[in-house]
Symmetry: C2
Subunit: 321 residues, 2 copies
Amino acid sequence: MNKFLTYRQAGVDIDLASQCVQDISPLQKSTEGRFRLSNAFGQFTANCDLSGYKAPVITATCDGIGTKLELLVEHDLLETAGADLVAMNVNDVLTANAAPVMFLDYIGMPSLDRAVVRRLISGMTDALKSCGCVLGGGELAEMPTASSIELSGFCVGVAEKENVPDISSIRPGDSVWGIPSDGFHANGFSLIRNILKEHPELLSESETAELLKPARIYHPEVQILKKLKISVKGMAHVTGGGIAGNLKRILGIHGAELVIPRWNSPAARKILANVDVNEALKVFNMGIGWLIVNDGADIPSPAIRLGNVSQQPDVQVRVKS
Amino acid sequence: MNKFLTYRQAGVDIDLASQCVQDISPLQKSTEGRFRLSNAFGQFTANCDLSGYKAPVITATCDGIGTKLELLVEHDLLETAGADLVAMNVNDVLTANAAPVMFLDYIGMPSLDRAVVRRLISGMTDALKSCGCVLGGGELAEMPTASSIELSGFCVGVAEKENVPDISSIRPGDSVWGIPSDGFHANGFSLIRNILKEHPELLSESETAELLKPARIYHPEVQILKKLKISVKGMAHVTGGGIAGNLKRILGIHGAELVIPRWNSPAARKILANVDVNEALKVFNMGIGWLIVNDGADIPSPAIRLGNVSQQPDVQVRVKS
């Protein structure tokens, strides 16, 4: 027996890692469109040439999908995990009226599983293609000490300086608009998982599928605002903290008084029956995943006018009875 | 008893999360220098104005610190984990001759620990200040399902297009230079941990400290190249894959013949005694953490001339006997 230890004996398989990278290459290639890497995929950095911009402002975000990941793994919905990871990051970038340029992912696994990696990445690349963002690169870490998949994502966007919404221009009386979500997106799942643990039969199969749908990417809606030249003072992505918590991030000293429609989703209704409405408003998006503040000019459907910015500092949200 | 479930009962403490963010704010502020956020910290995105650049190319990287994290947690060296995370990402950005602009971190924890978060972040911000990079933001995820700390990082850099090294200009006969590492940095720790499990008494206290030192950030060395107007054709950060694996990423069809000095570190000597040298060359940096390829013009100490680019496609590395 050899007295020397190898990396493979220590649980790290470099050859398998390079096979995974080979699998990712064509998927990465498929995301090169509006933006493309100016160097080869798999270098130390992912480079993108922004010299076409007059006065570029870059925007960066970092997010995961929380414990929704556990449920998605349990239901073998790995592509959805990838899509959610992209959505949670790209939506943040879109709040700055920026184009998502490059996305990078971090995947940590107890031991590399080529099929799992490919499915996660293909979920990401499908979502990235839908919004013109290129897969820049990422890190695939074999972590023999981890107990499950670790997943986090990063996105860089770019905007012309003059197009970044000026949240300091928000005034009492401005309109607040909401755009429907595609379900719970990837927030509040620690609470949802606990409810499902107490009530394992709560949701039917179709309701479970609805619960686990990937988060919507609000790229088409933001594009329409640009196309119609509707100027916005601020946009918010409704994640943990709910409508009030996330709107407050852009309102500064102001508040708002909002009335939202009842959430018209069978899965959501059943989950919400187990949570106090004030708690639910703080944790879930309540059917509204995107908020826009403007001077009152009409925004076409699916946007809904929810109310107005107010002088008092609180954001009050009431569900329409 | 209330029939409703709360987020706190489900293991997620939103108030504690916001206390953590308050702790981070002054640390974040301390990193605003050459680059600064053009919006408030804690918004959906971290924005940075690059309109001063003529033809900006942005560079993005994503990395973790592998299973070195386990050892650092075990030895209560959380600041080092933060510093390593920054170094692993910033060094990748530096290979493109880019200035590191914004760094974002992802921290996942089974339950939030305010002191742990503060110590991780302060390790990051100290490292970021040393290279003029701003802490843009990050994600702090309470993951009741995780077994330990999850840590990943992300860095965006910027360079004028004309300053990005052109690796396609590399030719046989070009010189390859190395710059010493500060130990193992954050690679090969699954193997190191296995060796230490088999030989728990292998390292003295001072050797363990040396083993766990944070990775060096090669910002000063790259600055000196700029200052002395030494033009480079390519730079490589020596991580997993070793000198040959990482140099090969920039050499393309070419190879190299290199001779490196013996690694003059007591901890490294003891670890290397348990690994076949060919395996060690593939896994560890072997005392050389940074590589520079140029036309042969002298580079001042601590750079060492290791050899030349060759016609044949292999990178051969020999340890000086």
